[in-house]
Symmetry: C2
């Protein structure tokens, strides 16, 4: 899928000849912003590799502390896995990360500082469970009303939370029974702990959206760690907080779209952000670091690398990254996830007393959300298509996939869903500089074997990126936390 951030945002509209200083057109604000060409400074205190949310937060904090900083971003836009999409009528939705919720204090504080408001995800009315065997059923709460599921699901959830509570968020490799848990896939564990296939099918809704992979590709240890990180220093992570809507990870969204966060930080950083500057080599000596990008070479005292894990493998490192770090990076593939939105003149389901939230136990759509903008000027339904569902339909022609998606939507909220005024897809697996989404999952065995290198600096190189966070790894909050931590590490040395 083509990158189309520029034209949508009008980033290029303010391009000055030669200097290529751009104006970012957000929702009203205009500011001096990132360069897209031209020479880079010869040296700075710190180079940040990657202009996603995590890297930008790191840069922002280092600038606040009085350091000279340069962000080198491979794409012609900032934001990484955050990307606004403007609908034909002018409303803004997200092609990438969107939801926030309680205990995600770091991203919420940042949003407040940047004057980006949140609004509650619509949860009024009934949710819908679309079952192959039971048909379409309305329900409230979080567990679909399948009698086969209810009892098992409640017990499993308690067990998962209990097991997760024993996994240290900053050292899952030291959890009790870590080696065995890391050698067992979630799929194997579920087969041993529930006899009800429907439970596994319904859990797919969560796994596919949260990891972009099904339960067969991740270990129990990684899964439990991920649940443990769905909280903060005073609220232990739980499955409910990771998977739920109200009061949980899908509680709210940002007015104007989550992309406003990176856009506003980049705007403030101005020409400290260099776009179109993929980093190819990072060379350290006893005196500093040399970073080679397609737009030139910059010297720095410290470097923060804030890119999706597989991308760090493609950099020429001198000296080479330590073997255990290279192994960790090789064992952290990005998930496969597509976000699909269907737009309607009105959120017609709300008038029917439906929340727009649905869970499916079959088919390519496993989770559906109401994704209307804050003003609900148009109606938007969102589907996450990840993991094996992505495998089933990502390669189909768009028209066929659209048909499958809309048919699923119609099962949940009625035949009106078959005729959207707009249909939007974004598949992150097509993106050179992300390689998939929403997050990289540490493969079975690898958390115990190599996990402890996740935040270990490599000489003068430090690591950010949401995957390195100890809370809300894989979420915007984790990106912010990781950027803050990496900046603090580096600031000590500047």
């Amino acid at each position: 899928m083509a990158e189309h951030g520029l034209s949508r945002r009008g980033l290029l509209s303010g391009a000055a000849a030669g200097g290529a200083i751009l104006a970012i057109g957000g929702i009203g604000e205009t500011a001096e912003a990132a360069t897209t060409s031209g020479s880079l400074p010869a040296s700075v205190d710190a180079v940040v590799v990657g202009g996603g949310l995590s890297g930008l937060v790191a840069a922002r904090n280092l600038v606040k502390a009085g350091n000279s900083v340069l962000v080198l971003e491979a794409r012609n836009r900032v934001g990484g896995r955050l990307l606004n999409h403007t609908l034909k009528g002018g409303s803004v939705i997200e092609s990438g990360g969107a939801f926030v919720g309680p205990t995600q204090n770091h991203v919420l504080a940042l949003a407040k500082e940047l004057k980006v408001k949140t609004f509650k995800e619509y949860v009024t009315g009934d949710n819908v469970y679309v079952s192959k065997t039971l048909g379409t059923l309305k329900y409230t709460g979080t567990v679909p009303p399948d009698p086969l599921i209810l009892a098992d699901a409640a017990i499993l959830q308690l067990r998962i939370d209990d097991m997760a509570s024993k996994v240290p968020v900053d050292a899952p490799w030291s959890a009790p029974d870590a080696a065995n848990l890391d050698a067992t896939t979630v799929d194997s564990w579920l087969r041993q702990n529930t006899l009800i296939p429907q439970v596994r099918e319904v859990l797919k809704a969560f796994f596919q959206a949260a990891f972009g992979t099904d339960a067969e590709g991740i270990s129990m240890l990684f899964f439990l760690w991920y649940m443990a990180t769905a909280g903060d220093e005073t609220h232990p992570g739980t499955f409910e907080r990771a998977s739920g809507t109200a009061d949980a990870a899908q509680d709210s969204r940002f007015v104007g779209g989550s992309d406003l966060l990176p856009l506003r930080i980049a705007s403030a950083l101005g020409s400290r952000v260099a776009l179109n500057a993929p980093v190819r080599k990072i060379k350290q000596t006893s005196t500093g670091v040399t970073v080679v990008s397609d737009r030139g070479t910059v010297k720095a005292r410290r470097v923060i690398v804030a890119v999706p894990p597989p991308l760090a493998l493609g950099i020429d490192w001198s000296p080479l990254l330590p073997p255990r770090r290279l192994q960790l990076l090789q064992h952290m593939p990005m998930g496969t996830l597509m976000k699909v939105d269907a737009v309607y003149a009105k959120p017609f389901w709300r008038a029917k007393g439906l929340s727009g939230s649905a869970t499916f136990d079959d088919g390519v759509v496993r989770t559906m959300f109401d994704n209307c903008p804050a003003d609900a000027k148009v109606g938007v339904l969102l589907a996450f298509i990840g993991g094996s569902s992505w495998q089933r339909c990502a390669m189909l022609p768009l028209a066929e996939r659209r048909k499958l998606v809309l048919a699923a939507f119609a099962k949940a909220v009625g035949p009106e869903a078959l005729n959207p005024i707009e249909y939007v897809e974004h598949d992150w697996t097509h993106e050179r500089w992300t390689m998939g989404s929403p997050v990289a999952s540490v493969q079975p065995g690898a958390t115990v074997a190599y996990g402890s290198t996740i935040r270990q600096p490599h000489g003068r190189v430090h690591w950010a990126g949401t995957e390195t966070s100890t809370y809300w790894a894989g979420y915007m909050d984790g990106a912010v936390r990781a950027g803050e931590r990496a900046a603090a590490e580096v600031a000590k040395h500047l």
Copy 2:
């Protein structure tokens, strides 16, 4: 660990000023050989990326068919995971792949053509089993004489062979029950299928050496497929053929070292091999392919990529590789394996009636082999240290690791082992252009999800490398087969 191929081989000794055409000093032969600097041809029929055995075989076959070919190799040597090491006394052993055996017909035929002889791995006398609980026991055959192990091991082996026989070597994703087998780690399966922890410990000897990872990191489907590939078109693969010595994968070695195969092919290819030429970009148009390397840009009608899977991710692809291929590459980490050799004035264990082969149920050394050169002028004992054993000792100071290794050798063959005249290690995880060894393992779930892209050409780009073979993937024979297949695919279009 530093690359020290050049000085050992005297590759540079024949360097001509300017043109940098080198003489390869093998065991007697001298020939015009690879270039290390200077300009590349502007265009050729086919570019081969990667000068390991697979890429060189592909290039050789294309040249034989009358095509112009250029091999672009990142290192300053050819051979990839094959690398001879010359001992102080002049004898040659291997730092990388070494063993060959029956049904590995393609590499054996190639060796014959190249006039590289084989000799039998020494198997006379008793093997030794070093057990934490039973002490040191002599035995013959393949299964250690632990009464706890014998019955279970025999049954497991039969079951594994039976299950492997149902896995198509060219399409493991279509095996019966493929999804479940791919969602189950070998470790989980073994826990369900044997109650004897010793069996799992002894199997580690095989997993660590064969995959460079323990049983927790690989799925049953990938493991069964790998066993199925340990054969040829008329001899179904078996666990015994993959793991055994006489009449199996460790049956023989090459006189003068396995590296003679790539060296002699490269020698014949001459200046068609460009060293120090890492490939950074591969760009396709409707008319051809442009390959950008550090030594220049070359146009080609077709390209064969023959590099370890994780390295292909680091290339800038235009158009980008298809998402499923990118996912496969992200799910194929290289193993962790170190080869350690201790050299003695004589193979003293042979005089004691010992074969020099040992299996350990504990400690960092799990497998030991007699690794004397063909003339047995010196005695050499070899240990594979892979997977969790690698994790336990690869980061230790060399002196400490040496102590652990020699103590293990001494337990197996006596205290003479404590005082070698030479001690040699090679850890492939330190190598930028290999990233680990002996092979890339497809992660749990990923064979079913993405495996079918393994040999799918990307437009004008075709895939070689041992991991793409349908027999003896991960071995030299697989490398040769894959190179031959890729060359045949490309030749059709030239």
